[in-house]
């Protein structure tokens, strides 16, 4: 029964996608929109074929994936322990709250001038843009996930003689992990939004570079292809992430 309903939903999704692409193609082919402003899907596809043949599309995608993943993993590695620590300590939360509030609204692009001064035009500078773009929001997710643990559970564990470390290992971590993972999935998408900023300076490959360079030459099909590739890559990574989530959190299945 569930399989039936799932395949029905899948069929509806496919049908809506096909209808959307057909309408888009028709609108462009009938001349309602100039290709400079919106090229038809067939033109984007032909650009994709050309760029796959010369290997550019794969190398752009791999370069951006590497930058996003390195920046995102580094940011998660710092944000997870720090967020759990802050989420479980009112004192340190009060200490760091103003700083987090200052960092939180800053767009990744605002870090470009400073990152260039500190790190130069290196790959590390590009990782740092993704890092800074995703760190503060990840940290907030993790703090909230940690805070959401029922205090009754913590008190009960303490009454049963659990040490601070035990409470952390046996109550807070397993309790907050599903929310942390859910937050990180959202953050991975946000990390991808930093790629344009990351590849704005001194890049010669990457999907962000491809989009910006396409814009300079009015190759709207290249711009749209870059955007589609970002979406596809995020979807693929999301599937991988879900599999990892199932292994890590078997009790949430």
């Amino acid at each position: 029964m569930e399989i039936n309903s799932r395949s029905k939903s899948f069929a509806i999704s496919i049908a809506s996608l096909v209808i959307f692409i057909t309408v888009w193609e028709l609108v462009c082919r009938l001349g309602f929109i100039e290709p400079l402003f919106l090229p038809p899907p067939s033109q984007i596809l032909s650009r994709a074929v050309k760029m796959i043949e010369n290997g550019q599309l794969i190398s752009h995608t791999l370069a951006s994936t590497r930058r996003v993943m390195v920046g995102f993993i580094l940011s998660s590695m710092v944000a997870i322990p720090f967020g759990i620590f802050l989420g479980s300590s009112r004192f340190f939360m009060a200490v760091f709250d103003p700083l987090i509030s200052l960092l939180r609204p800053l767009p990744s692009m605002s870090w470009i001038p400073l990152s260039l001064l500190w790190l130069g035009i290196t790959e590390t500078q590009k990782y740092s843009i993704v890092f800074m773009g995703s760190f503060a929001p990840s940290l907030l997710y993790i703090i909230e996930a940690t805070k959401s643990i029922d205090p009754l559970l913590i008190r009960a564990a303490k009454n049963l003689g659990a040490s601070k470390l035990d409470v952390m290992r046996e109550v807070i971590l397993p309790g907050s992990l599903p929310q942390i993972i859910a937050g990180l999935k959202v953050m991975l998408g946000i990390a991808w939004t930093c790629i344009i900023s990351a590849e704005l300076v001194a890049a010669r490959e990457g999907l962000g570079f491809m989009i910006m360079n396409g814009k300079e030459y009015f190759q709207t099909d290249t711009v749209l292809l870059g955007m589609v590739m970002i979406s596809i890559t995020v979807m693929v990574i999301d599937v991988v992430f879900r599999k990892f989530e199932r292994r890590l959190l078997p009790w949430t299945r």
Partner: protein, 334 residues
């Protein structure tokens, strides 16, 4: 009787003359009194700025609104989207837009030549182009400086993909990158070009005069183009004409009174008077009269632009070379 006749004739002649003068003036009155111009602090926009500040457009009954854009691509995008009426652009952007099939604009002039204030600057240990092998060189991609690098490397048998690392960097980021040693050479234009040359241990490797099309057609790697939205030019021919008049009067002023112009340009560029004058002295302005000889087909400028388009195709920057002459408006400059 004879005297009366003479008086009457003189009166009629005076009336006819006055009427024709009024008509002539009325004939030149712009249909639309405001023009939205797309510019930046780049030298190609100096005439428009001087024209506004010195009231030269106003003299022709026009108010010109100067809209700032950082890059030519953004400016050209806005022009064809209908947000701008007239603009000046780097020709790489212009050709790219032609290649993209946009018929919404026309090129009607090329106001300047700056061949000696754009070039490749390198560290002292790099004496020749061959010495760039294995080095890191920066250029702002999709710009005249990028085209210059590609051409110079080609002339010297170097492959930008294999023989060296070519990085995409904005000109304002180059002095810091050169200073920190992250790049060994860079292609830049004025005023950053002048700044880089003044840095100790740096020297000019080549300038635009070494560009292959400059040698053949006196055409730089990305000459500035004056462009107008086609619909605007067709709908408001008198307004366009008034703009062109005011614009080339400003060009004449830049030639004859550079110091006066520098004073008003400092507001646009934020340069000191000394730096502003230094930039001005290296520009060759092309007057209205000279435009008429340039913007014709067949002619060296149009032929050079066509070769430039083919060069961009050869280096995989655009998909195909547009027939540039189809975008040239020969009759815009009176």
């Amino acid at each position: 009787m004879k005297r009366l006749m003479k008086k009457s004739l003189a009166l009629v002649a005076a009336v006819v003359l006055a009427f024709s003068l009024v008509c002539a003036h009325a004939d030149e009155t712009p249909e639309k009194v405001t023009v939205i111009y797309g510019g930046s602090s780049w030298l190609g926009h100096y005439p428009a700025w001087v024209g506004i500040e010195k009231g030269l457009f106003q003299k022709h009954g026009l108010g010109v609104l100067f809209q700032n854009f950082y890059a030519s691509s953004g400016r050209m995008g806005s022009l064809v989207a209908g947000d701008l009426d007239i603009a000046s652009t780097g020709s790489i952007s212009g050709i790219a837009l032609m290649a993209a099939g946009s018929k919404g604009f026309m090129a009607f002039g090329t106001p300047d030549s700056y061949a000696t204030v754009e070039g490749i600057i390198a560290r002292e240990n790099i004496k020749t182009i061959q010495d760039l092998k294995g080095k890191r060189i920066a250029a702002p991609f999709a710009s005249s400086a990028h085209v210059l690098v590609l051409d110079i490397l080609e002339q010297n048998g170097l492959d930008p993909e294999k023989d060296l690392t070519l990085l995409n960097l904005k000109v304002n980021e180059m002095p810091a990158a050169m200073h920190s040693g992250e790049i060994d050479a860079c292609a830049a234009w004025t005023p950053h070009f002048n700044k880089l040359l003044k840095m100790p241990g740096h020297h000019l490797l080549v300038d635009d005069t070494e560009f292959s099309l400059y040698k053949k057609y006196k055409l730089g790697p990305g000459p500035d183009l004056l462009v107008v939205r086609k619909e605007f030019a067709q709908k408001y021919p008198k307004t366009s004409k008034a703009f062109v008049k005011g614009y080339f009067e400003a060009v004449d002023m830049l030639i004859n009174e550079p110091e006066e112009c520098a004073k008003v340009l400092m507001k646009l560029t934020n340069l000191s008077m000394e730096d502003q004058m230094e930039v001005l002295k290296d520009i060759t302005w092309i007057t209205g009269e000279e435009q008429r000889a340039l913007m014709v087909d067949p002619g060296d400028f149009v032929a050079g632009m066509q070769q430039l388009a083919q060069f961009l195709v050869k280096h995989n920057q655009i998909d195909h070379a547009p027939a540039v002459k189809e975008w040239i408006a020969e009759d815009m400059v009176p």
